[in-house]
Symmetry: C2
Subunit: 112 residues, 2 copies
């Protein structure tokens, strides 16, 4: 019982943020129901505030909009924005009879 993964994880939790200086400053933008332009502006602001990378996350039908956000950010605002990585996956939502799978996407972008 004493050596379960959960126990180990809880011991790691108290490490202070200042002890992890090497992680790049990443900012997540979660795509919802607002127009794509709003999220594109939020992306540009994140870069202007010093972010090295911005991760655009979306689920379900918002995935198309996530691609729009990256393309608008790149074409209208800053052509130095490049795609580093695109990940797709599946998340399970709901419980019991309402369980359903929804596709997810994460686009990591950076300024070259």
């Amino acid at each position: 019982m004493a050596n379960t993964a959960n126990e180990v994880k809880s011991e790691e939790t108290p490490v202070p943020e200042a002890a992890k200086p090497k992680a790049p400053l990443q900012n997540v933008i979660l795509i919802g129901k607002k127009p794509a332009m709003n999220y594109a502006l939020a992306t540009i602001i994140q870069f202007n505030q010093g972010a090295n990378e911005v991760i655009i996350k979306a689920r379900g039908v918002a995935i198309s909009k996530a691609v729009d956000v990256v393309e608008i950010s790149r074409r209208r605002f800053d052509e130095s924005i490049k795609v580093k990585e695109i990940k797709i996956g599946t998340e399970t939502l709901g419980e019991g009879e309402n369980v359903r799978n929804v596709s997810t996407m994460e686009i990591t972008i950076f300024k070259s």
Copy 2:
């Protein structure tokens, strides 16, 4: 004039298909208005017919469905399916006053 890239390219054109055995057999599935399951079945059929890679292409709102197709193919039918590459871009559609930009996505998958 005789050594331009175009000239060289046009000389290469007559090479018969049989002379290019090294190109992987790739099959493109263009995502449209049918249910995602239809395209997932088409994907599985392509692999069963010997395709090394299948490229799932989509534009605009169909991009979300393209991700669904990959996830359904992988989770329901064949867990050995892996994502090789995901490309995003923009295409310009229409002419004159009707010109508009639409986001595009290409997901290349293979069986590991």
